[in-house]
């Protein structure tokens, strides 16, 4: 079970969180004309990365904040966590 540092609450076990997918995906702006390909890439297409991955988690049984977690998908090592509005360095 992972041990995740919520940037708001501190170290918390994985059971308090729910996983939210790739954090690098950016929703296209509202009312913007975009191609089918661009939209499909946003809705469906994800890289199944091995290694360092920036992902979203929600502290669902805690502060309910969505956070970003930089994690190695192979080793589960967590390098850093960020608040939703924090720039990723």
């Amino acid at each position: 079970m992972l041990y995740i540092k919520c940037p708001h609450c501190g170290m918390r076990p994985q059971i308090e969180f729910s996983y939210g997918g790739d954090a690098s995906v950016k929703r296209p702006d509202l009312n913007k004309e975009i191609s089918d390909k661009e939209w499909d890439d946003f809705v469906y297409n994800r890289k199944s990365l091995r290694g360092k991955h920036l992902e979203l988690w929600q502290h669902i049984s805690g502060c309910r904040q969505w956070i970003k977690v930089e994690r190695d998908t192979a080793t589960h090592e967590i390098f850093k966590t960020f608040k939703a509005d924090e720039g990723v360095v």
Binding site: M1, L2, P13, V43, Q58, T75, I78, A84
Partner: protein, 998 residues
């Protein structure tokens, strides 16, 4: 039977407390502090079970967790538990155990014929033989194999024992209370670190209980006792015996199973049977010690053959002689230590040492005691079927290839020592890449991957002095890092006998003309010949060899077999052991009860139960409840002998003719506040929200980004910047997360807050032509006329002194209102509604009537919004704005979603107007078409229309738009039904929606 093999006044058992127990129906006696194994051995019982594959007689091989085959079925307090190691089960008064894997009895086992057929049961036998014909597998082969194999029977009764889970955090978790565990714990405790010290056995001390050593001028055992009692007094230390750390998981989380009650005849009141600890440790010290490894020889599985360390433990801890005429077979000095213990207690052993002329203090001591020692000698084979009677022994050449003349000598047990294998399971589970240590012919942990350190014998260090030094130092160093304290601890002086180097010898060659089974893996019946076959058939990777032969699998996880197996593969392959590598060690290290893993989340505790504030009233009024997610909702209120069909029909009918009231507390409710609230709603719902006036509600549909309908519900504008959203019962949590996702990550510029208020409001839906009359009586001072409170209107009121919210919304399709009050007032509200509604023949109605009412109105719910439908499919396209963008809009342009023959909701009526249509049935054009019959759609919901008094269903049908009036067939192979039906509009009752506006 008397305890003929028990020594007087030796051991750590409590001789004042004699216990009786039964094994295979026969009564024996033992003492408090015995294990089932030691008590049986004290009574001279060596035969415990039959082996897994060949059903060969098997006895005791180890004395603890290392035991591969002394597995029994335990009976305790009218319960039974399989897969219990006799070497770990502590004796209690009245214990009952039986042998497993034998029928009809352990003494006469029919399956033992496999032993004589063994030539036909080589590695891969099952894979090769039971392949054909395919249809035989389920009917014949599998049931037969299952009956013949297996290690016990699981109880089919509900387990009444309680198992608890505990979450714990500590600075240092120490696995094992032997010399290294105690030293590191002591040093770290002195630095104030928070420590958990876990020992799997009932007694602390590990090897110090049996080794003849001296620490700080006292015996090792006394020193251990002193340290443990001091640790127990320290507030920062938790010391646990009977507690096995069995798994090492990510981010330094380890799981430990504490046997709280297994050693007692019955679990004490309010105590659990076992407690599972989830421990998150800053640092882990693995002091799990080592397990003696066997030397492989012919018939080395005969009862009476056991590890020499086990024989020593039975003697020193339990005062039990495993034999009175022992033969000791060793390639190192450990065998001599066991021999010395026998000799000291009046039993003359013979020692066979594969080494030519070893010299050491230990050997000198053995010689001085007059022990009979034969060098360059080996056991070729054990003789005896159910018990060792003699041994074939021979001298062996220096290259270990040639045996001398074989002699047969009488003996009643063979204690074997092939040197020591560090227990690296935990380290390996942590991700540590192990390395091969040439000097000890075994793997030890390499570079740590997590915060773990392996010490002592588990790290391949067999000198007590070195173990104490490194462990004290490590405990001090790691605790200092955490607590910043650095207290000096004196490392006590150590007196231990120096030993000589072991012999790199692990397997006795077969004598000419003999074909003895030489077992590597005792639990899984894998012999040398099986590995040879696997390699001959082309298996090269050790992981493949493992799976083909079952070497190192199952509950044993190769504790005694792993290295000998690797040695054999490396020898045949002409590779070095590290190049062969070892298989993956998997948790659990030793079997753990399923009950302990499940914990208390069983039966009705497997999920929480949510009840509305009106629950007690429903109960009192004969409600029959149904699970709605985790909620309990009244399905119908039973009157007399009514069944569900009759009761729900009565309730629905009463709503259509008079008035009914339904508990709708379970609906998800989200409070939305902020200047940008309207903008948020406008983006998450498909319809327009910017112009909703204060005091008005609107129905909305929200989509996922892929265009699929996520949820629907009404949202009401309570005041300028305050909205009250309702969701379906099932999607309440998902919708909240969805809103939070967009607010926090996608549109953080929106100034809106959302919070769940599901539990803050109790809700009652009052529906039916007379609902306005009821409402007027509830709120005599309000204007609730059609003008004063029009359809989709909202107002606040005072319900006999209680603040209430009134929404004119309808799910039933009738004139209807929903009244919300704070949860604490829910029951008060409900009783008032029933009271004032009496004049209007009000009846409460449950979810079944609720469904009927919505189905015949063609209102969609969860069965249509099933994660596969878009707004069009549900006839909701009128709510999809063309002007503005919203979540999921772009997906609605996908070709499949806009195709001309897109599926759409329709109504379905059986032609005979009688036959009920099962939900989930398929709609087809031709009932007699060859299979697979093309499916045109499926029945999503069915009811008995109370308006028309005939069955009516909703269906999602291909090209539903153009299918009205068509005749199709409903097919339900599950219920064996074929029903001719007509497709009608989904709006079966009041298609113009006049009632809700009346």
């Amino acid at each position: 039977m008397s305890q003929d093999f028990r020594l007087e006044s030796v051991g750590l058992i409590n001789r004042d407390k004699k216990l009786s127990f039964k094994f295979n129906g026969k009564k024996y006696f033992g003492y408090e502090g015995d294990t089932l194994a030691s008590a049986l051995l004290a009574n001279g019982v060596h035969l415990v079970g039959r082996s897994f594959k060949y059903h060969r007689p098997r006895g005791f091989f180890g004395a603890g967790v290392d035991e591969p085959y002394a597995i029994v079925q335990l009976y305790r307090n009218n319960e039974t538990e399989p897969n219990i190691k006799a070497t770990e089960q502590e004796l209690f008064e009245g214990l009952e155990a039986k042998s497993v894997n034998c029928w009809p009895s352990v003494n006469f086992d029919i399956g033992a014929i496999n032993n004589f057929l063994k030539i036909f049961l080589p590695a891969g036998f099952y894979y090769k033989t039971f392949m054909w014909p395919k249809s035989f597998w389920y009917r014949i082969y599998e049931p037969f194999i299952r009956k013949a194999a297996g290690l016990g029977v699981a109880s089919t009764k509900h387990d009444k024992e309680r198992y608890e889970h505990k979450y714990e955090y500590c600075d240092l978790l120490i696995a094992g209370s032997g010399p290294s565990g105690l030293s590191s714990a002591y040093a770290a405790a002195k630095n104030g670190a928070k420590i958990i010290l876990a020992e799997d056995k009932p007694r602390f001390g590990g090897s110090l209980l049996t080794d003849d050593v001296n620490i700080g001028n006292q015996s090792g055992k006394d020193w251990a006792e002193g340290i443990i009692s001091e640790l127990k007094t320290m507030p920062n230390v938790v010391v646990k015996n009977r507690s096995q750390i069995f798994g090492y998981y990510d981010h330094n989380m380890l799981v430990m199973s504490e046997k709280v009650s297994d050693h007692l005849p019955k679990t004490k009141k309010y105590h659990p049977n076992k407690r599972l600890w989830y421990i998150r440790a800053k640092e882990v010290l693995i002091s799990s010690g080592s397990i003696e490894r066997p030397i492989v020889f012919g018939n080395n599985d005969t009862p009476g053959v056991m590890l020499s360390s086990a024989a020593k433990e039975y003697l020193k801890v339990y005062g039990v002689l495993v034999g009175k005429n022992p033969l000791i077979f060793t390639n190192n000095d450990s065998g001599y230590e066991t021999a010395i213990e026998f000799q000291k207690h009046g039993v003359q052993p013979m020692v066979l040492d594969s080494r030519k002329n070893p010299e050491s203090e230990i050997i000198d001591e053995a010689k001085s005691l007059g022990i009979n020692i034969k060098n360059s000698y080996v056991v070729v084979a054990a003789q005896g079927y159910k018990k060792v009677k003699s041994a074939d022994i021979a001298s062996i050449s220096d290259d270990k290839k040639q045996l001398g003349k074989i002699e047969n000598i009488k003996c009643d047990c063979i204690c074997v020592s092939g040197f020591w294998t560090p227990s690296i399971h935990l380290a390996s589970q942590s991700g540590n890449k192990t390395k091969f240590k040439e000097e000890i012919d075994a793997f030890v942990p390499g570079i740590s991957k997590q915060q773990e350190t392996t010490l002592g014998a588990a790290n391949g260090v067999f000198s007590l002095e070195e173990t104490l030094q490194t462990s004290f130092a490590k405990g001090r160093e790691l605790s200092k890092k955490i607590t910043d304290n650095d207290n000096e601890v004196n490392i006590p002086n150590v007196v231990e006998k120096k030993s000589s180097k072991h012999d790199k010898f692990w397997c006795v060659p077969l004598p000419a003309g003999k074909n003895y089974k030489r077992f590597l893996d005792f639990q899984n019946d894998v012999a040398v010949s099986d590995i040879e076959i696997a390699l001959r058939e082309g298996y090269r990777s050790i992981e493949h060899v493992k799976r083909y032969t079952t070497l190192g699998m199952a509950t044993d996880q190769g504790k005694t077999s792993n290295l000998n197996g690797l040695q054999l593969v490396s020898e045949i392959e002409n590779k070095v052991v590290p190049a062969v590598g070892h298989t993956t060690f998997r948790p659990p290290y030793t079997p753990i009860s399923i009950g302990a893993i499940v914990g208390r989340e069983v039966g009705k505790h497997s999920k929480p139960t949510r009840k509305s504030p009106m629950h007690a009233w429903h109960e009192k009024n004969n409600a029959v409840f149904v699970d709605a997610g985790v909620w309990l909702r009244p399905r119908y209120y039973k009157r007399g002998n009514e069944n569900l069909f009759e009761g729900s029909k009565r309730e629905a009918k009463n709503v259509r003719t008079n008035v009914g009231v339904c508990d709708v507390t379970t609906l998800g409710k989200i409070d939305i506040k902020g200047p940008d609230a309207a903008e948020l709603l406008n983006r998450v719902y498909t319809n327009a929200w910017l112009k909703l006036p204060v005091g008005k509600a609107r129905y909305g549909v929200m989509l996922r980004e892929d265009g699929i309908v996520m949820d629907d519900g009404t949202t009401t504008r309570i005041s300028e910047n305050h909205y009250h959203m309702t969701t379906t019962t099932a999607q309440a949590a998902n919708v909240l997360s969805h809103l939070e996702y967009y607010l926090q990550l996608v549109w953080p510029e929106l100034n809106v807050n959302v919070v769940s208020t599901t539990e803050q409001w109790a809700g009652a839906a009052i529906a039916g032509p007379k609902s306005r009359d009821v409402l007027q009586k509830l709120f005599p001072n309000l204007d609730v006329s059609n003008e004063g409170l029009p359809f989709m209107g909202y107002m606040e009121g005072d319900l006999f002194g209680v603040k209430a919210r009134i929404f004119r919304i309808s799910f039933s399709g009738e004139l209807a209102y929903e009244v919300n009050v704070e949860s604490d007032n829910g029951n008060f509200m409900w009783e008032k509604i029933i009271e004032v509604g009496e004049d209007f023949k009000i009846q409460p109605y449950g979810t079944e009537a609720l469904s009927t009412l919505r189905i015949e109105m063609g209102h969609v719910a969860g069965s249509e919004l099933d994660g596969r439908t878009i707004p069009y499919d549900n006839a909701l396209e009128g709510l999809v704005s063309k002007k503005k963008d919203f979540i999921g809009k772009r997906s609605l342009q996908r070709a499949a979603f806009t195709s001309d023959d897109r599926q759409r909701i329709v109504g379905v009526v059986p032609l005979d107007k009688k036959t009920s249509i099962p939900e989930g049935s398929h709609l087809v054009k031709d009932a007699n078409a060859p299979l697979p019959n093309p499916k045109l759609g499926h029945i999503s919901a069915s009811c008995w229309s109370v308006e028309y008094d005939n069955p009516f269903s909703l269906a999602i049908l291909k090209d539903g738009k153009n299918m009205i009036g068509e005749k199709l067939f409903v097919m339900s192979p599950l219920k064996n039904k074929v029903i001719p039906v007509e497709i009608v509009s989904s709006h079966y009752v009041d298609p113009k929606g006049e009632r809700v506006r009346s």
